[in-house]
Symmetry: C2
Subunit: 193 residues, 2 copies
């Protein structure tokens, strides 16, 4: 059993040790090298991923350019929900941008285990609520904030990404050109001090 996942689960639902063991026995450990794909566009997603260590990006190609839609780091669940839930081919790539160690939950295992242990269903309802809240906040930032304010919010809420993801990927996530991002990033924050 993985300790980080156990403490993650404990923050949300109250599983017995036996239930926790049973749930974690359905997961498969896999290592991805930097640059490896967890999912390619055109494939249909059938898995949810719990990142033990590493950094992973979700992106699509628009007019020949990569557009980052989401990042995940240690102790996050990620997947391509649109493809997974609607069982349709993904237009999104999932790719490791660091060497990453991941626990994989197949959708068929998920369905079996959540029937067997309803608290697993609750866990994933809560994960989805939290994931949605983050998306809703991001939409409100995109609607209300300038590029500079978007950058400030990103730094405040996701400081580790600045060290772990290349600048051009963060620029893409924030909907900026690398040049504009670089200009904002290099602007002195405290010009009078």
């Amino acid at each position: 059993m993985n300790k980080n996942l156990t403490s993650y689960i404990k923050r949300h639902v109250d599983l017995t040790e036996q239930e926790n063991e049973r749930f974690q026995s359905t997961l498969k450990l896999k290592t991805f090298k930097k640059g490896d794909y967890l999912l390619q566009a055109g494939q249909t997603c059938t898995k949810r991923y719990y990142i033990l260590t590493g950094c992973i990006r979700l992106f699509y190609i628009e007019n020949g350019n990569e557009q980052i839609i989401h990042f995940g780091i240690d102790n996050w669940w990620i997947t391509e929900y649109d493809s997974l839930i609607n069982q349709s081919p993904s237009n999104i790539f999932i790719q490791a941008i660091e060497d990453s160690e991941v626990l994989i939950l197949d959708q068929s295992s998920f369905e079996r285990i959540s029937e067997e242990i309803p608290k697993i269903e609750k866990l994933f309802r809560i994960i989805m609520e939290k994931t949605y809240i983050a998306a809703q906040r991001r939409i409100s930032y995109m609607l209300s904030y300038s590029g500079e304010e978007l950058y400030e919010k990103f730094v405040t809420y996701n400081p580790t990404f600045l060290q772990r993801a290349p600048q051009y990927m963060i620029a893409s996530y924030l909907g900026m050109t690398p040049e504009f991002y670089s200009k904002i990033r290099n602007k002195p924050r405290n010009p009078t001090s």
Copy 2:
């Protein structure tokens, strides 16, 4: 029991008639007049709403302006998840923009009934996944599309809103000024025909 809600539930989970009755018995019917608030900013949200008939908006105030973040119409579940899940004061208003008939599910009732009937937990996990997928699509449109393309996508996926919500609200939802929205809307779609 409400027939529309019953058929909504049936599309996602397989409740017995008794379970469906039991679930629906926890809901309270309430009517809101056009302009009535379901939630005011500063209040902590404690409810989920199933819209039987009507049109409802979620908005916040930014620099003195209303910013629409979400709409709901007939047969949608809506709430302010950030406030509901984190039990923190909302910065969002929920307001009826038509006379609306709504079924209300208190969070305490939700917790009881989903322990009692695990398929209700599953139902709300699925609702959250679908809600998240819509938010993720919206983010990708905002990142990739011009104002005109955003409008086209909105018309394609939400045609009824054009009839039901005032233009200035749709403009706000799309992140546009009313003037820019009006310009796009009045642009001939088929100039050569």
